[in-house]
Amino acid sequence: MARVVVDVMLKPEILDPQGQAVARALPSLGIEGVTGVRIGKHVEIEFDGEPDLERAQQIADRLLANPVIEDFTVRAG
């Protein structure tokens, strides 16, 4: 089983309301000391042959991430 992992995050300058909502909720759980939360996507791609970073890169570039608002990283999982 050949897995490649792509993590997609909103660009730093783009507001992440979901992350903010989590961050805001923390004090009420008695959790202090968190300065920020960002929430993105964690994508696991299984290839039938070798883990193919190049094709994963392509998939991320064309489909998984929107370059206007998102950055991504690709790694063998």
Partner: protein, 227 residues
């Protein structure tokens, strides 16, 4: 014979019948276009309707962009074919790079359906000629990812070139930058609008008939270019 306006159905399109109804009410013939066919059947204009194409999984419009019909549409739009993207259609136009920027999760994180006041700021597009700049209309908005974002340069350009077609007034329902509800491409033939004019064409089923103007506008536009 009256103009033929295509309404594309993607898997998961929902407001396609309603868009066709609005087209008919405006006096044109709706033509059903299928996502799987790279053929626009010679229509005079195209509406990409609202809905949840491909479930809006991953990102709204991200998968629909690769439908065969879109390759044909991108070319035709480049040659001046009037295209209106409503809600999910607007998202698809941005994903296809026919329009700049992107539509992201509503700031309050909720899907929101309400009767929204809009100000028409540009009547120079193929889809807004029937309005006067400054007209304030009431049209339903219903989306979960309608928050328009773009980098400062793009926003400045949109403002500078008068390409912000409509803005939210009396309250921004999703946090869109510059209260943007709709924008146009440089040529003005491609317009994306988050609210739903097709649901404001009949007092019986909508909050107003203010939305009909978008569909009558394109008829005016087509008549003008034909002449």
């Amino acid at each position: 014979m009256s103009p033929r306006i295509g309404v594309v159905t993607f898997p998961g399109s929902l407001d396609d019948r309603d868009a066709a109804r609005a087209v008919r009410r405006a006096g044109a013939d709706p033509v059903a276009l299928w996502h799987g066919e790279a053929d626009l059947l010679g229509v005079d204009a195209v509406v990409l309707p609202g809905g949840f194409s491909y479930g809006d999984y991953l990102r709204c419009g991200a998968i629909a962009r690769f439908a065969p019909v879109m390759t044909a549409l991108v070319d035709a739009a480049g040659n001046g074919l009037p295209v209106l993207g409503i809600c999910n259609g607007f998202q698809i136009l941005c994903e296809s790079h026919l329009l700049p920027g992107a539509l992201t999760r509503n700031q309050h994180l909720h899907f929101r359906n309400r009767d929204q006041r809009l100000r028409i700021d540009a009547n120079t597009t193929a889809w807004t000629g029937a309005y006067e700049p400054g007209d304030v209309i009431t049209v339903p908005v219903k989306n979960g990812e309608g928050c328009y974002v773009a980098d400062p340069a793009t926003l400045a350009q949109l403002e500078g070139e008068g390409r912000i077609v409509a803005r939210y007034v009396e309250g921004n329902p999703n946090g869109s930058l510059h209260d943007i509800a709709g924008i146009a491409n440089e040529a003005g033939n491609v317009v994306g609008l988050m609210p739903h004019p097709e649901h404001a064409v009949d007092q019986l089923t909508g909050p107003s008939e203010d939305g009909l103007g978008l569909f009558t506008s394109v008829l005016k536009h087509l008549a003008r270019v034909a002449a």
